[in-house]
Subunit: 226 residues, 2 copies
């Protein structure tokens, strides 16, 4: 469902030039649960942004769900993304001026879900991440870990085929982090594909496969070791 | 150096009302290293914002460095804070339009440090947190963990008496997190006072004392157990 061949990403802002990814070969089958680990600055978020089609590679071949991503136009890309990919950003990326409830509702609004179904689903997801009593709070009226859980609920709103999570438990205590792991496991058991960046080895060990990145290259992939 | 008696904090935005702190009694002596732990949403950041004088309590008595904080005017408060307190925010709070180097220099500019000394210290601190080759990057040109390390370097710029760190290693891998723990230990050994919120039990166990917060109250304090 994810196929990358020789993927590179260079950030070149004139003043600074960084080769964040230097040749990534990565294939993920439908229904896999992959953990991506590696030191700070090694290229994990850069890789996730490419998989999630939020950025384009500098070079290499990338197919998502069997389609060559480079061939899609912006609207097609946005549509594929909204329906099939749930993305949990490292910095949450919530809309600050609307409530937690409205943030979770957002993808369903774009996805053409009926009002009644949207509201039921947003309620249910916020309850499941433990925020039933914080639905009307705006992001600035929430704690760090609460914002992170709203971002997780939002990513699950369209029941995505692929869930991309960039450090989803960094701001959570072990109990809340455990609840999130259970949510991910449920999605996996329903046949979902998960790619999770994490520094939390407890979460990485729950995945079916661990890919380690260092300096923009894959240095270890338990799929190859099996 | 920190003395709190019956401290409460209520967030009341008209629509939502939350009793984030419901009567905190906390005394920290000069030279202590205190870890604050507790579930997501329990009131840790709220408490840190009060200790760091970034917000005012709803009720109770609070003395910092022997002075009743309520009695200081805004300028005196800002001056005490800049010279004596280093603050690492949960969301980093870097200025996005200037470089990592300029962000670390900022407190020293306000603190009246000479240009040459400012530059040397900013360089040295960025090297020590492992970002010697990222000094010219703006925050948007850095990874999550790199931004966090810039925030740590900035908090140490004025060699503060008190370091307040709200989840300083949430975005760091274990090696980078270990470097930060060493930095904190060094500051402690030089006689500094540290108060660190963390979900990372490895960091909490390196502290001299652990205070656990739940639902706006202190439920456990190893100082009392000793
Ligand atoms: N501006 C605000 N308005 C209303 N409620 C708020 C506001 N800021 C925080 N809260 C609420 O106060 C409670 C305490 O928040 P706080 O940020 O102190 O928690 P925390 O212990 O730091 O959590 P975390 O570990 O998730 O960062 C939370 O339930 C939160 O929803
Ligand atoms: N917009 C940008 N411009 C220039 N360099 C960038 C940009 N974004 C990231 N970088 C650099 O690319 C490298 C990879 O960044 P990335 O965010 O992918 O790392 P990461 O593995 O997610 O790290 P962390 O665990 O700290 O979040 C870093 O060294 C970073 O400084
Ligand atoms: Mg990252
Ligand atoms: Mg917090």
């Amino acid at each position: 469902i994810i196929h990358m061949d020789g993927i590179t990403k260079v950030y070149d802002t004139g003043k600074v030039k960084v080769e964040a990814l230097r040749g990534i070969d990565l294939s993920v089958q439908k229904g896999e649960f992959v953990a991506i680990v590696g030191p700070s600055g090694s290229g994990k978020s850069t890789l996730m942004n490419l998989i999630g089609c939020l950025d384009t590679p500098t070079g290499g071949q990338f197919d998502l769900a069997g389609e060559a991503v480079a061939g899609l136009d912006r609207d097609q890309l946005a549509d594929v993304r909204n329906r099939r990919v749930g993305f949990i950003f490292q910095n949450f990326n919530l809309l600050p001026q609307i409530s937690a409830f409205e943030n979770v509702e957002m993808p369903m609004l774009f996805g053409g879900v009926s009002k009644r179904e949207r509201r039921e689903r947003a309620c249910e997801l916020l309850e499941r991440v433990g925020l039933g009593n914080r639905m009307d709070h705006k992001p600035t009226e929430l704690s760090g870990g609460q914002m992170q859980r709203v971002a997780i609920a939002r990513a699950l709103a369209m029941n995505p085929d692929i869930l991309l999570a960039d450090e989803p438990t960094g701001n959570l205590d072990s109990a809340s982090g455990g609840d999130i792991m259970t949510l991910f496991k449920n999605l996996w058991e329903q046949g979902g594909t998960l790619v999770v960046v994490t520094h939390d080895m407890a979460l990485a060990n729950r995945a079916g496969r661990v890919v380690e990145i260092r300096d923009g290259l894959i240095v270890r992939d338990t799929a190859n070791a099996a």
